[in-house]
Amino acid sequence: MIWTCMNSEERLAEYLEGQLAGEERARMDAHVAECAACRALVAQVRWLSERLPHLEPEPLPSGLVYRILEATSGTATRKREYTWRTIIAGLTSPRFALGLGSVAATIFILFQALGINPKKITAEDLNPVNVYRAANQQAHLTYARGVRFVNDLRVVYEIRSRLQEASVAPTPAPEQETPKNPQSPQSERQLKNDLMHKGPTMTASAALASMWLGGSL
């Protein structure tokens, strides 16, 4: 039987792995020694088989493991059965406690804004008309308090700024200091009384200016 290139190809793996023995091995050796094409093929396949197992593995796309876990364990969570144990475990989890806390705080703030007393809550309190009325009343109250507060502040800052002006003003020369001088500084008490009286009648721009001055002090 003649050993052809086809035979060499068929037995190449066995030949390279040393599993070809006896007469077959001798015949293939002889063929490869004579045939340049088969010699090149044997060399190339040997080289390739040695390198393939050591090729760098392809790097994993970032987050693939998490996406797989999300896709699979996500399914598991949806399929989970609800038993008393899982429900209690859910209720005692910090996430639930935090959520409950924020809901309670929101309700408390809402009740405060609507003027509802949580201890004496009645069906009437939840009537939309009453809720609107309470909210309206609460808003007006808050507005009135705000206005009063701003007015008080305005007076205080005006006094402070006037006092400061008075203390910074240059002291007049002794010869000019006559009781009849209209430029002489008023006493602090007089100034305060004057301002307390004039305060509410001040213009808006003056109030704003005095507030700004007070804030920068």
Binding site: E9, E56, E58, L64, I68, S73, T75
Partner: protein, 189 residues
Amino acid sequence: MEPDSQLVVQCLRGEATAWEELVRRHTRRVYNLAYRFTSNRQEAEDLSQEVFLRLYKTLASYRAVHGEFTTWLTSVTRNLLIDHYRRTRRDRLTDSIDEEGSPAEHKAAPGRRPDETASANELSAQVQQALGKISPELREAVILRDLQGLDYREIQQVLSVPEGTVKSRINRGRIELARLLTQMGVQAE
């Protein structure tokens, strides 16, 4: 390190950490097998997710007595790869016709001087290019044997074909790959 079969038992008991460990341990193998077969990172990623979803659903059917977990995992992956190959065959045929219409892309294939030594990464890319050109039967046999390191018996189980067929496919696959690389100018030093 706990054996895979033990982790499977823990998974079936509902231990989430055991499943996480299994996924971490085998994602690289599954992804690489899919990438080497499809030559497409996005497809490999989608297929890897599909493999683990399938695995998750059928975990109860795994029995350690039937063989290594890795072999079973490889079978699941391989079956999905073949399904995917059949599903997308029509698209690929259209693509290959389009490619033949543009000879410029063939010219862009990397040529190399004989004295140049291929770096590991370059060789990996060239092998990938050549793998894409051989038939899926030969491709999967070479990937399983030479890139994934499975032995003949395991490959026989994964492919469900006789040992003689496995050996013949690996042999023919390597020869075709070697010839393609020679044509690309990638040769034994």
